[in-house]
Symmetry: C2
DNA sequence: AACTACTAACTTTCCGGTCAGTTATTTCCG
DNA sequence: CGGAAATAACTGACCGGAAAGTTAGTAGTT
């Protein structure tokens, strides 16, 4: 099991926190906060439970780090989308669909989303951070873009914030579906295809003075 | 505190199970499964912890009862909608919007939804029941209606199951929003209004050979 | 040889579950 | 009809296990 010259551990102070957060994200996503054991997080991170406490004070602090880490890259993606949206709304929506469709396929955002939803009652400050730093930004940017398009006469009237929710909801629910029901035998959704189809539907429903597509594009 | 003739408890065998399930639903919805304490459930139900075990074997059984109870009335609502859908798709969609918009305002379905999402990893059989008995029915019925409308040439081509998800997603996400982010200060959505606006948007996007609304209706 | 990242066994706390005893209610008998 | 005996709904103190958190000592590293 252990080679003679093989040390039974290595000192790698710098690399530990990242490894711990990554392992914790996986376990939290699978089990939820309460049912996630520190022993298992430590095992997956390749260290002992005691070592966790060299880098984090409590379990809750690990949880915070996981949520914070899940926010970071997404903020980047949102800023990038905002920066690229001066054109007509159609373009922005298609861009959103493509980016979001790919993001949710790759990043483990689904598991974290489940956690935040499930633990919002127990850790309100966490839900607040997630909302203020990520969700409100994303929804706000989209709302602003839709409101601007309305003022240009490009989009029908109606609550722009509600329109923004309508745009992103199927993708998010698709992620939740994948995490919740697919493991118990439900038919999965092709998320990028869903995103694409939904945006085309919404464009035909939203955009004023535009000939409707007869066929949904591939 | 206690009047002389006032008994310190009453024997009300018949009424207990319902009261327990109702109290448990509230606590589970607030705290999630693991963080919900039997002591608190008992307190809110007006009995002692020991009495819980006169009516349920384990905590998990209480949890199952809560989920089952949350499914029941919704199944009724779905069957009613299916029964009333022979007309054109527009009518069905408006009916769905109205029913769902009202259901989610009144029933505590949001809390249960949170639970099922959050605990799907720990109780797969629960997620399976929820899916098979409720979600798959609802989505399937809507998918069938959309597919039929496509065959009548009433609705554009595309994956009908994805269209069904697109239709219901904003309402569900609105409920999740209310349960997750509104308590920490997020702007709430007017759910019936959201449902109505979304259906009108989807109709304009989905239905073929139909003049588009210029204005979103009230 | 000094330093400290790291481990593993330990302590503490909490909570689901149990049970012996208590009290409201019903039944039965005088 | 009234009071005592029987019944079972109910309580609350207790138990055991699991998991968060601690620490004394070990072993890589410099």
């Amino acid at each position: 099991m252990l080679e003679p010259g093989e040390p039974k551990f290595r000192r790698r102070k710098a690399a530990r926190p990242g490894e711990i957060v990554e392992a914790a994200m996986a376990v939290f996503a699978e089990r939820g906060y309460a049912a996630a054991g520190l022993e298992e997080i430590a095992r997956r991170a390749g260290i002992s439970k005691g070592s966790l406490y060299l880098y984090f004070e409590t379990k809750e602090e690990i949880f915070h780090a996981v949520v914070a880490q899940a926010i970071g890259p997404n903020i980047q993606a949102i800023r990038a989308m905002i920066a690229a949206h001066p054109g007509p709304l159609e373009e922005l929506l298609r861009l959103v669909a493509e980016r979001v469709g790919k993001l949710i396929e790759t990043l483990p955002v689904g598991g974290v989303l489940k956690m935040v939803i499930g633990e919002a009652g127990n850790f309100p400050q966490l839900a607040r951070v997630w909302h203020d730093d990520l969700v409100a930004h994303a929804l706000g940017a989209l709302t602003d873009a839709i409101r601007a398009a309305q003022q240009r006469g490009e989009v029908r009237s109606g609550d722009p914030r509600a329109y923004a929710l309508e745009v992103i909801a199927p993708m998010l629910l698709g992620v939740i579906w994948r995490e919740t029901f697919v493991p118990v035998g439900a038919e999965p959704f092709d998320l990028p295809a869903l995103a694409h189809q939904h945006i085309e539907t919404m464009i035909d429903g939203l955009v004023a003075g535009r000939p409707k597509n007869r066929e949904a594009a591939t």
